[in-house]
Amino acid sequence: MGPSGFPAEVAGIMDADQVSILEGFTFLVSDRNGDVDPAARDPVGLYYLDTRFLSRWIVTIDGKRLTPLSVDDLQYFEARFFLVPGQPTHYVNATLSVIRHRSIVSGLDEELQILNHSGDPADLTIRLDAASDFADLDDIGRPAVRKKGRYHHEVGNHHLHLRYSREGFHRATLIQSTEPAEVDRDGMTFAVRIPPNGSWATRLRVATDISAPSGDEVTGGRMPMLRKLKEGVREDLDRWIGRAPRLQCDFGTLTATYRRSLIDLAALRSPSIEGGGQLPCAGLPWLNTLIGRQSIFISLQTLPFLPELAATTLRTLAAYQGTKLDDFREEEPGKILHLLRWSESTAFEERPYARYFGSVDATPLFVVLLDEYERWTGDVELVRRLENEARRALNWLDEWGDLAGDGYLWYQRPRAPGEQPNQSWKESERAICYADGRLPGFPRATCEVQGYAYDAKIRGARLARTFWGDPGYADRLEHQAYALRERFNRDYWLPDRRYYALARETDGSRVDALASNLGHLLWSGIVDPDRAEALVEHLLGPRLFSGWGVRTLAAGQSNFNPVGYHIGTVWPYDNSVIAEGMRRYGFTTEAGTVAQAIFEAGAYFNGRLPEAFAGYDRQLTTFPVRYPTASSPQGWSAGAILSLLRTVLGLETYGDHLVVKAAVPPRLGQIALLGICGRWGIADALGRPSTTASNC
C-alpha cells in the first residue's frame, strides 16, 4: 500500500482485514468474506445501541467457508462481497460463485446469491449459522462476562427469533429469509438445486428490536420501504458532499483524503434527540455514540466546512447538561455530558453510562464552541437561546470544577469502579505522569483544561457583552480570565525545561512530563507570547515530533511507548489542535509542517486516518504504523483533515467576512477550497506555496 495508488472514489469503510458498514446507531463489522466469527477475530458482529445483536453470521456451501475475491464497499452503509466456496487454491476450478450484497438500513438486509457457472445442475446445501450473545459492547475483548438474563429461541418456518431478557430489559434479533429454509436454533439450511448456468438467491433480513415482547409479531421492514430508505440515505450523502466546499490541490492524495473524511463524517452522524438534526458520533467500533469532548472537537474542526454539526452538538449537549449531583455519574449542575450508552450494564447501573459526566474539559469547550459557532455562522438566535446553559457551564468551572479553591480546574478519580482515571482527553492510567514515570495523586489539574477554561471565559465575555446585554458579567469573566492566565503562567511554567507542566497536584507539585498538551495551550491562547516559540520548538523537536506528527508523550519520558495509547502514539486530532495553536501565535510555517505530516500519513491509511497511529520515528519506519486497537473510522481524525486545511489556508472570520491568509507548505503545492459558506455568503480560498497573504 503506497501513498500514490489508492482509489479516489472508494466510498465505504474497509480496513485491511475487516469490512464495516454503518448507519445511525447500527453497525456491522465482518471479515472480508462477510462472515461474523468472533473466534477468528473480535470485535465483529452486528451492533445496535451498544449491544451485539449478531455474534455469528457464517455462510457455508456444502460445509465449505467462503473465500473473498473482492469486496466493493459501495457506500458507508452498503457493501458487496464476491466470493467462492473453499480455499484459494480452488480458484481455477471454481464452478460456483457467491455474491453477498448487504446494507444497514433499519437493521441488516443481505442478499445472498449463488451462481452456477457449470453446464450441470448443482445440488447444494447452503447453510447460514447465526447466533447472538447480546453482549455489551464494553464487555467485548474482556474476560467472559456471565450474563444475568435469559436467552430464548423461537424457530419458525421462515424465521429465527433470538431473544434476551433480564427483568424488563429486552433485546431481540429476528432473522427472516424470503426463500424457504429449514430453520433450527443455530441458523437455517437451504437445500437447493441450481440449474446449469443458473442462479439462486435469498434475501435475509435481520431486525434488531429493543421493545418489550408483545403479542404483535415482530417483522422486518418491507422491501419497497427499505429500498426507499436506502435511496434516502444515498441522496442525503450526495447532498452532504454537495454542501461541503470543494477542494482542488496539487498534492494528489489530499483531495481523496478530504473526500474520504467527508464521507466518514457523514457516516458517523446519528439522529439527535434534539430538533431532528444529526449529531457527530465518535468512531467505530467502540464509540458509535455521543462523547461530549469528541462531538465538540468534530464540530470545531468542521465549522468552516459544514457548520450544521456544531448546531446540533450545541443543542444536544445543552439538553443533556447536568442539573443535579449524582456521584456515580460524576454529574454536577452545569456540567456537560461525557458519554451516553444504552447497554445492559448501563441499564442495571453496573456502568454509569446512562448519562456519564466523567470529563472536565467538555464543559469549557461547550462555551468555546458556542462562541466559535456564532463567529462562523452569525446564528445569533442559538447564542441567545443557549444563554442560560452557557452561563451554567461557566458557573460550573468555579463552583464544581475548582476543587482546590485556587482558581484552577481539577478532577478527582471517578467514583464508578473501572472508569478511566483521567477526566481530560488523555484518559488512560499512565498518560498524566512525571518525566520519571511517577503518577501524580488526585485531584489533578492538567494544563490544557486550564487553557480551555481561560478561553471559555474570554469567549463567554464576548457573548455576554455582544448578545446577552450583560456587560457587568462580561467584565467579571474577563477579569477572571486574565487572572487565570497570569496565575497559570506563573504556576505551571518550568523555567529550566522551558515548557509548562503537564499537570499540578494540590501541594503545588508540577507534573513535569513533556507532552503534546503544550499545543492545546497555544490553541487556547493562555500562553504568554514570549514563551510560544519555546513551546513550538519542543513540539517540532525530535522528542515530540516523529516526522508523521506530534507524539502524545515525548520520547525519553519514562512512560514513553510509541504504541502506547496516550503515551507516545500520534493522534491526528491532537495534531490538528496543535497546528491551529501554532498558527494562532503566528508560527505559520511550523503549523504547515504539522499539517503536511498528517496529510502524508493520511495517504498511507487510504485517506482514512485512524484514531491514533504509532509514534515511531519516520526515519525508522518509512510508513506510519497502525495502532492495533485504534478506532476507525474516527470522527475527530476525519475532522482533523478539514481542520488542517483550514490552518494552512489561514481561514478566519472577521465580522461578516472570511479572511484567508494562506501559508501552504511547498510540498503541498497549490490548494483551492471553493464554495465556503458562512455569514459572508459564499467565498473561495486559494493558497499558493510560499504565499504569505491573499484575501478574497
Partner: protein, 127 residues
C-alpha cells in the same frame, strides 16, 4: 399510605422549575399504576406555570406510564434514565420533553459532589 409522587410534585419539584429551558412549555400526563387503581396526573409546565392535577383531561405532549411504586422511587432520587432502559417506566412523545421532565426529579440523596481538597499551590490562591 402517602403518595410520595403527589407530595413531590406538590412541593419540591417546583423548586427545580428554573432548570427548564426558557420558553419551555408542555403538558405531561403521568399514568401511575397503583395496587387498586390507576392514577392519572397532568403536569402542566410553562413560563410561570406549574400545576399538577388529576382533573382536566386533555391532550398531553408526553405520556409517561409506570408502577406508582417505581415513580415513588424516582421522586426519592433513583435514576429515571436507567429505569426507562429497564422498561420500568415507558413514555410516548418527544424524548426531549422526557429529558426536560427528568430535570424536575432529584439526584440521589447520598450524592454530595466531588471531594474538595484545599490547594497549596498558586500564590495569592495559596502557594
Amino acid at each position: 399510605m402517602t403518595d410520595r409522587t403527589a407530595e413531590y410534585f406538590a412541593g419540591p419539584a417546583r423548586r427545580r422549575m428554573h432548570l427548564l429551558p426558557s420558553g419551555f412549555a408542555a403538558t405531561i400526563r403521568l399514568d401511575l399504576r397503583r395496587p387498586d387503581r390507576m392514577d392519572r396526573w397532568y403536569l402542566t409546565l410553562g413560563e410561570d406555570e406549574f400545576s399538577f392535577r388529576r382533573d382536566g383531561e386533555r391532550e398531553a405532549d408526553l405520556v409517561i406510564a409506570a408502577d406508582g411504586e417505581v415513580f415513588d422511587r424516582l421522586v426519592a432520587g433513583e435514576d429515571p434514565t436507567t429505569a426507562a432502559l429497564r422498561n420500568e417506566i415507558t413514555y410516548r412523545g418527544p424524548p426531549l420533553i422526557m429529558i426536560y421532565f427528568e430535570r424536575l426529579l432529584p439526584g440521589p440523596p447520598d450524592s454530595h459532589g466531588p471531594e474538595r481538597v484545599p490547594g497549596r499551590g498558586g500564590g495569592d490562591h495559596g502557594r
